[in-house]
C-alpha cells in the first residue's frame, strides 16, 4: 500500500532540507517518556471506550448461536426496496456527492410524508437533516445543542448510546427510571411501566438543557400515551428545555396503540428534534440513513455539525430510500403498504414469543410497540458460578446462555446507568424481528431448557 519509491528530483531546496534533517537527528529521539502524555485521548472520550455491543455482538457471531440479541432483522427487506438500490447503482450521477443536508428527492419524500403526520408544513431543506443512521442524528443533535455543564434527562432503561453521547458533549446525564405498577395476575404490559410525574419534575432545574424521549421505547416496547406525553411537554415548556425524541420505531405499533409525536403538542414544535430511521422503517439497518425533523432554528445547528463532520451521506442509498418512500406513500391506506404490513407481521411474531416465554414460566412484558421484548429470566436459574463475578446478573446470564444454550439476547442492565442496574438485572431483552426458522430454533432451545429443569 505504501509506495516507497523515490520521487523525481527537483533540485531546488533539497540541500537545505537535508541539512536540517541531519541536525535534528543529532538531537536524538529519546522522547518515549514524553510520548505517553501527548498521545493520550482527548478528555471528551474519557471513560467512553467500553461498549457493550462489541462484546455481545462478538459472542453472538458464532454461527451456531440463535441470535435474538442485537436489533436487526434477519427477515428480508421488501423486494422493491432492494430493487430500487440495484437500479440506482447503475445511474452515473448517483455515484457522486449529493446535497450535504440530504439528497433532494429524499428530503422531498420525507417532508411530503411527515407533513401529513405533523399536520403542518415542513420545509424539506431547512427543517429536515439526513444523517448516518439515527445514531448520526442523535450525535448531531447532542453536539449541536448540548454544551458542557448542561444537564440532560434520560429515562431508564435507555438506548445505551444516549449516556456516552451526552458525556462526550461534557454534559451531565440525570436519570429517572420507568417504574412498574403492580400487575395482579393480569398480563404484564409495557404500558404498566410509567414515570412518576412528581419524580420527573424533581429532575428538572435551571441547568436542564434537554430530555431524551424514546417512543416506541427500546427495550421495553412502551408506547407513550397522550397523557404521559403531555406531562413531559408541560415540563419542557415550564423549564424551557429541549426535547430530543427518538422515534425510530414509529411504525411498529401494535393493536390498540397509536404512536403520538410530542412535537405536535402545543408549544413543542419549536423545542423538539424528532429522529427517524430508514433501517427500522424498511428493515435495512445496514443502509445507515436517519433523519432529524424540527424547526430551522434548531436544525441549522445540527447542519453546522454535519458540515464539520461527515458533510454528506451516501447518494445511491438516499435515492433508493426516496424511491422506496414514494412507493409506500402512494398506498398508505393499503394493507400492502410496508408501514402497515410490517407491524401486522411483527405482531404475530410478538404474540408467538410472548406465548413461548410464558409457556416456560417466564414473565415477559408484552410490548405495545418496537421489536423487542423483555422478560424476567431468573426462574430459569442456571448455574452461573463460572461467569465473571463482578458483572450484573443479566450479563452473566446472557453470556452463559449464549455459550451453553446457543441462544443470544441482550442484558437489560446494559440500558441502565450504574445506579439503576440492579433494578433491571433480572431482565433480558429478546429481538423478535426474525424469520420463522430463527424463532423456531429459539423455541426449541427454550422448550428443551425448561424440560431439563422440571
Amino acid at each position: 500500500m505504501f509506495l516507497a519509491q523515490r520521487s523525481l528530483c527537483f533540485p531546488s531546496g533539497r540541500a537545505k532540507f537535508l541539512k536540517t534533517i541531519s541536525s535534528s537527528k543529532i538531537l536524538g529521539f529519546s522522547v518515549s517518556a514524553k510520548m505517553s502524555l501527548k498521545f493520550t485521548n482527548a478528555k471528551r472520550i474519557e471513560g467512553l471506550d467500553s461498549n457493550m455491543w462489541i462484546e455481545f455482538t462478538k459472542l453472538a457471531a458464532d454461527p451456531s448461536v440463535v441470535n435474538l440479541g442485537q436489533g436487526f432483522p434477519d427477515i428480508s427487506p421488501p423486494t422493491y426496496v432492494k430493487e430500487e438500490l440495484s437500479k440506482i447503482a447503475a445511474i452515473d450521477s448517483l455515484n457522486q456527492y449529493t446535497r450535504g443536508f440530504g439528497h433532494p428527492s429524499l428530503v422531498k419524500a420525507l417532508s411530503y410524508l411527515y407533513e401529513k403526520l405533523y399536520q403542518k408544513q415542513i420545509d424539506s431543506n431547512k427543517e429536515i437533516l439526513v444523517t448516518v443512521g439515527a445514531y448520526g442524528s442523535l450525535f448531531n443533535t447532542v453536539q449541536a445543542l448540548i454544551d458542557e455543564g448542561d444537564e440532560v434527562i434520560l429515562i431508564v432503561p435507555f438506548y445505551d448510546c444516549y449516556e456516552p453521547m451526552v458525556r462526550m458533549a461534557g454534559a451531565t446525564p440525570v436519570f429517572i427510571p420507568l417504574r412498574s405498577k403492580p400487575v395482579d395476575g393480569k398480563r404484564w404490559s409495557s404500558s404498566d411501566w410509567t414515570l412518576d410525574p412528581q419524580e420527573l419534575e424533581s429532575k428538572f432545574n435551571s441547568k436542564t438543557k434537554a430530555i431524551i424521549l424514546n417512543t416506541p421505547h427500546n427495550p421495553l416496547g412502551k408506547v407513550y400515551n397522550k397523557e404521559e406525553l403531555q406531562v413531559i411537554a408541560d415540563l419542557c415548556i415550564k423549564y424551557d428545555t429541549l426535547c430530543i425524541s427518538d422515534e425510530v420505531y414509529e411504525w411498529l405499533v401494535y393493536s390498540g396503540n397509536k404512536h403520538l409525536k410530542i412535537a405536535t403538542f402545543p408549544g413543542m414544535w419549536e423545542r423538539t428534534i424528532t429522529i427517524g430511521s430508514a433501517g427500522k422503517t424498511f428493515s435495512v439497518t445496514g443502509w445507515k440513513l436517519g433523519w432529524s425533523i424540527g424547526p430551522n432554528h434548531l436544525i441549522k445547528h445540527l447542519q453546522t455539525v454535519q458540515q464539520n463532520t461527515i458533510y454528506t451521506c451516501a447518494t445511491p442509498l438516499q435515492e433508493a430510500l426516496a424511491q422506496a418512500f414514494w412507493i409506500d406513500i402512494k398506498r398508505m391506506d393499503d394493507p400492502e403498504c410496508y408501514f402497515n404490513s410490517l407491524p401486522k407481521e411483527l405482531e404475530v411474531k410478538r404474540d408467538r414469543i410472548v406465548h413461548l416465554l410464558e409457556s416456560v414460566g417466564l414473565k415477559p412484558i408484552v410490548p405495545d410497540g418496537g421489536y423487542f421484548i423483555i422478560a424476567d429470566v431468573s426462574l430459569l436459574d442456571p448455574d452461573l458460578s463460572d461467569m465473571k463475578n463482578n458483572e450484573p446478573y443479566d450479563y452473566k446470564f446472557v453470556k452463559w446462555m449464549t455459550k451453553h444454550k446457543k441462544l443470544s439476547a441482550i442484558p437489560v442492565s446494559a440500558f441502565c446507568n450504574s445506579e439503576t442496574k440492579s433494578q433491571f438485572e433480572k431482565f433480558v431483552r429478546f429481538c423478535f424481528i426474525k424469520k420463522d426458522s430463527t424463532l423456531d430454533a429459539a423455541e426449541e432451545i427454550i422448550k428443551a431448557w425448561s424440560v431439563q429443569k422440571s
Binding site: 527537483f10 531546488s12 471506550d49 447503482a89 450535504g100 402545543p266 445507515k288 458533510y311 398508505m332
Partner: protein, 430 residues
C-alpha cells in the same frame, strides 16, 4: 391516516446535477440568507392549566453549544450556488462527472443485490469517514483546538515557463518555528488539494523529523494517493522510520474508485491511537453502510490481482486524468490564465495576477479577496466555474493568496470540450 391523497405525487426526481449540492450551509457566511424570515417568531398559545401565554422561540439559556461558535460559516455556499444559477461548465467542486469504472459499479450492484443480509448492520470499526480539505480548520476549532497555519510558498519561475506544484515549498525554518511543546498534531495532505503538490521524500523527512522531535501526531490526508502524474510517486509518511507509531493515514473510496457518493473512507494507524478513534466512532455513527463497504472491498480485491499491471484502474485512471490535465493546461492559457502544473490530485491552480492588474475593480464586498470576485465574475460572464484558492487559506493569509483559482480536471471529455467552447468565446472577447 384516512382518505386518498389529494394531489398527484411529484414525478420521479430527475438525476440532479450535483453542482447545486453543498450549496447550503447552516449559516451562509456572507450576509443574511435570502428568503429566511430572520429569527422567525413562533408565537404559540400555551394551553396548559388554562393559561394563555405567548412564547417566543428564544430560550433564556444559549441555544446552541459553544463548540459551534465561529464554525457555522462555510465558503462553498456562494460558489456552488452561483454555479447552479448560471449556465456554466462546472470545474469547481471536486467530483468526477463521469461514471466509476465498470468493475466498481458491478461490485456495488453485486453488493446490493446479493446476500440480503448485507442490508443489515455490519460489524463496527471498519472505516472512518474524512471529507474535504477546507474542513481541517473548523474541525480543529470544534474540538476546542487551535489551528496554527504555515503556508506553502511558490518559488520564482522563469518568464514564459509554467510553474509546477513541486515549486511550492515550506520554509523549513518557518515550519520548525511553529512547533511548541503544546503542539498536538500536524495535518499533512499529499497529494495536496488545491495545489496538486506531491510531497517529496526529503520534504516528508523534514516533517517527520519535526514530528518526532516535538512528539507530535501526524494526520495525513492521502485521499488522492493514486492520482499522481508524470511518473511521480506518492510516499506515505507513515512508512518513514519512526513514523508509524505516530501517524494516522486517511484514504477515500470516493477518490480511489471515482465514486464520491459512496462516502466510504478509512484511517490506518497504530492501535494505541486508533482505539480512541473507535471510541468516537461508536459514539457517533457507529457503523458505515454495509453494501458500500462490501462494494469497496470487492473493488479492492479486483485491483489487488492487477496491482502494478497496465490494466489496473490505479494505472489507467491517472494516465487518463493526466491527459485531461494536459488538455486543460493548454486550453486555459489561451485566455491568459497561468496554470501551475500539478504533480497529483484532481486539481490545478492558475495564477490570475494578469487579470488582477488589468481588472482590479471587480464587483464584490469590501475587503473581499480578489480571487472570489474574479470567480463570481467568471461564472456570470464566461460560464466557467472554478474555486477561489483564498478559501483554502487561513483568514490572515488570504490577502497574500488572492490571485489563484482552482480548476478540477477530473471530468468527462465532453465537459472539457464544453470548457474549450467557453474559452474560445472568452478569447474572442479579449
Amino acid at each position: 391516516m384516512r382518505g386518498t391523497l389529494a394531489a398527484p405525487l411529484p414525478a420521479l426526481a430527475p438525476a440532479l446535477s450535483p453542482c447545486c449540492f453543498g450549496a447550503e450551509v447552516a449559516e451562509p457566511g456572507l450576509g443574511p440568507l435570502k428568503g429566511t424570515g430572520t429569527a422567525a417568531t413562533y408565537r404559540v398559545y400555551l394551553g396548559t392549566r388554562g393559561e394563555a401565554a405567548q412564547a417566543g422561540l428564544t430560550m433564556a439559556k444559549q441555544l446552541q453549544a459553544r463548540r459551534l461558535d465561529g464554525i457555522d460559516h462555510n465558503p462553498w455556499v456562494e460558489f456552488v450556488k452561483l454555479a447552479s444559477e448560471h449556465d456554466v461548465v462546472n470545474l469547481g467542486q471536486g467530483f468526477p462527472d463521469f461514471p466509476p469504472p465498470d468493475f466498481a459499479v458491478k461490485a456495488f450492484q453485486h453488493a446490493v443485490s446479493g446476500d440480503f443480509m448485507l442490508n443489515q448492520y455490519t460489524k463496527a470499526f471498519v472505516i472512518i469517514i474524512e471529507p474535504f480539505f477546507d474542513c481541517y480548520e473548523p474541525m480543529t476549532v470544534m474540538a476546542g483546538g487551535r489551528p496554527v497555519f504555515v503556508p506553502l510558498k511558490p518559488g520564482p519561475i522563469q518568464n514564459g515557463e509554467l510553474g509546477s506544484s513541486s515549486n511550492w515549498q515550506l520554509d523549513s525554518m518557518e515550519l520548525a518555528s511553529k512547533f511548541t511543546s503544546r503542539t498536538k498534531a500536524l495535518v499533512l495532505n499529499t497529494p495536496n488539494n488545491p495545489l496538486g503538490k506531491v510531497f517529496s521524500r526529503e520534504e516528508l523527512e523534514l516533517v517527520a523529523s519535526l514530528c518526532q522531535q516535538h512528539d507530535v501526531v501526524c494526520i495525513t490526508d492521502e485521499v488522492y494517493q493514486w492520482m499522481v502524474y508524470d511518473g511521480h510517486r506518492h510516499i506515505s509518511i507513515a512508512s518513514l522510520p519512526g513514523m508509524w507509531e505516530r501517524t494516522l493515514t486517511i484514504g477515500s473510496a470516493g477518490k480511489t474508485f471515482s465514486a464520491t457518493g459512496w462516502k466510504v473512507g478509512w484511517v490506518l494507524g497504530p492501535d494505541h491511537i486508533m482505539k480512541h478513534l473507535r471510541t468516537v466512532h461508536q459514539n457517533s455513527i457507529f457503523h458505515c453502510p454495509t453494501q458500500s463497504q462490501a462494494a469497496v472491498a470487492e473493488s479492492f480485491e479486483r485491483e489487488q490481482l492487477l496491482f502494478g499491471q497496465p490494466s489496473s484502474y490505479f494505472v489507467q485512471f491517472p494516465q487518463a486524468m493526466q491527459r485531461c490535465r494536459d488538455h486543460m493546461i493548454r486550453s486555459l492559457q489561451s485566455v491568459g490564465l497561468k496554470p501551475v502544473i500539478p504533480q497529483g490530485s484532481y486539481f490545478l491552480v492558475t495564477d490570475i495576477s494578469d487579470f488582477k492588474r488589468k481588472m482590479p475593480d471587480l464587483p464584490g464586498a469590501m475587503d473581499e479577496p480578489y480571487d472570489r470576485r474574479f470567480v463570481k465574475w467568471m461564472i456570470k460572464n464566461k460560464g466557467l466555474v472554478a474555486i477561489p484558492v483564498s478559501i483554502f487559506y487561513s483568514v490572515p493569509h488570504q490577502k497574500h493568496f488572492d490571485h489563484y483559482i482552482r480548476f478540477c480536471f477530473v471530468k468527462d471529455e465532453a465537459t472539457l470540450q464544453a470548457m474549450d467552447e467557453k474559452l474560445r468565446k472568452w478569447k474572442a472577447e479579449l
